[in-house]
Symmetry: C2
Subunit: 349 residues, 2 copies
């Protein structure tokens, strides 16, 4: 539902994996373009017309998410996920075992279905924020699709996701726009200013060139987290101002050095490691076991490259099997033991 | 003087133009490396050892600029310029007709002489901030060198330069470092955070990865301008916070749209236009005429591609000849008339 940049890219990526993809969009021009670009097989007018699909992906603007997800859950779709960039409101509003809230952290300079690219998610992080009602099998299904399109799933609670994206996405966007506005205001007096704006300023303001239409909704949906981060940021900038005003060179240098270390340690896209280990975790067939294990892995910074739930034929037991970097398998092992699980490890050769 | 990234790049660029380049640096390892990299012809121990050079370029750290420029002005060097990123302190401290304060707006991810690159200034903006005592011929000489190495000279007063770089360089650096620190602090709790940092955040914090050693000096030298811009920025961010807290979608959208327009209009490197016009401006041989004309061109956003001062053989008169884009020649013409000059225009074929 919604064949823009994200929806179209998901469609294209799934088609390449052999899925049959049905596009749904209110805008006939967009569905026509989606067919031309080969990111959908067919298009239909409403979610109901799509019938009993295996997976429905809602990629509409944030402001329409809840209503669209509700409409899709009224159809016989087996599993439903969304691609909204704020997660708590939709996760709070909808309690359905088939719904797995999600957020692919990928974008493009290009807009709309014309920017759709089946490679968009290659190496990207794709956050999943299952709720208490989300079914483990539905989560596993979405996680396997995320892996199939080349992204890495990170499972975390909706509220934590929202606090983090406020810090690494929403507030940076507002700061970039504000810096650009200050420079532009000054440029009204002295056009020469803009010729002094070198690479660093260009880098810092690049995201301000993006289409602003999505931002008022995002700011409204994630209001509290954004306000909290803005307060934290202006508080820190006031402290920096104090150091500059006092010419406190040592404190300034210490701050900049710590920032430099952090920036250099900012992980680049994780490549698939050479050695993988299978971690098998016996679980009772209880709701949320998979979400708990995947959340733990995310908290421990252990990437899950694949996962599977093996249900027991007899009784309410099963095994969650996750594939992780061999170098980090013991870390996950320790965490699982601490939570009372009894996992076993098997290096893959 | 100082064969690091900037000094080495200037040396390499000048050698390519046929100059003989003498390197001076306190660090023997650096001068050796400069010779190996071919960015200097020879090295000497002190400015005095270089003898009566045509042009001396001081590219030492900002904190040592004034002393080094003074030492160089004690030699018979014909013209002296510097490459410091803050201009008012050095311009205020030194009153010598041979001194032309400058700031090439170019940098590199690489550091030191190993990052030196004769192409570093290709298309870059190079600010010149002549003072009341700067000789017009010295300014013309530096401006022709700037053009020869592929950069575009912009002439503006030192204080204005400092206010502008506070806004487009110094404060953005402090903001990038602060954002990175906030994210890193949060990441101490949840490592997963850093996997959510997508392209926009990477762009915005890239400059924080640079070597911080130069920044305490820059912040001390340009303290007042930086504090003023930080105050303006936090004031604007507080206003943005208010709009987010009130979910004022229209005002947010208007701000982001204005920032988007400004970012899209941020000029990229100016290419040499197809058609050039020679603007000939008769002047009395009075100090500062060239600086006044070049400053006017910068204020009018008219790029000067070349310039020459033709001194009259008889009496205290001369002609400043500047080469500008034909499309903008009338704009400069108007500005010159307004200031009381009597220029003539001649399109080049």
């Amino acid at each position: 539902m919604g064949v823009g940049l994200i929806g179209g890219s998901i469609g294209g990526a799934l088609r390449r994996c052999g899925w049959e993809v049905i596009g749904v969009d209110l805008d006939p021009a967009r569905t026509r373009r989606a067919r031309e670009r080969g990111v959908v097989d067919t298009v239909v007018a409403t979610p109901a017309d799509a019938g009993s699909v295996d997976l429905a992906v809602v990629a509409t603007p944030v402001g329409h998410l809840v209503d669209t997800v509700r409409a899709v859950l009224d159809t016989p779709a087996a599993v439903v996920t969304d691609a909204g960039s704020v997660k708590a409101p939709v996760a709070r509003a909808i309690a359905d075992p088939r719904f797995v809230p999600g957020h692919p952290m990928a974008g493009s300079e290009q807009e709309g279905v014309d920017g759709a690219d089946p490679d968009l998610f290659d190496g990207a992080t794709w956050v999943l924020t299952p709720t208490e009602t989300t079914d483990d099998d539905a989560l596993a299904r979405v996680q396997s699709v995320v892996s199939a399109v080349g992204a890495q799933a990170v499972v975390t609670p909706p509220e934590r996701h929202d606090a983090l994206v406020a810090l690494v996405s929403h507030v940076p966007h507002l700061v970039a726009a504000t810096l650009m506005q200050l420079a532009d205001r000054r440029a009204a007096e002295h056009r020469v200013l803009l010729r002094l704006a070198a690479g660093g300023f260009r880098d810092m303001t690049r995201i301000a060139a993006g289409h602003p239409a999505i931002w008022p909704d995002i700011c409204a949906e994630n209001r509290d987290a954004i306000v909290a981060v803005l307060d934290e940021l202006t508080g820190e900038l006031d402290r920096v101002r104090g150091l500059v005003a006092d010419s406190d060179r040592e404190a300034l240098l210490a701050r900049l050095e710590s920032a430099r270390r952090a920036r250099r340690n900012l992980p680049t896209t994780a490549l698939r490691p050479d050695a993988l280990t299978e971690v098998r975790v016996p679980v009772r067939d209880r709701k949320g076991e998979l979400a708990a294990i995947a959340s733990l892995a995310a908290d421990l910074d252990v990437n899950i490259y694949d996962l599977e739930i093996a249900h027991s034929a007899e009784g309410p037991r099963g095994v969650v099997i996750v594939l992780v970097d061999t170098a980090l398998a013991e870390r996950l092992h320790g965490g699982l033991l601490a939570l009372g699980y009894r996992p076993s490890l098997r290096p893959l050769t």
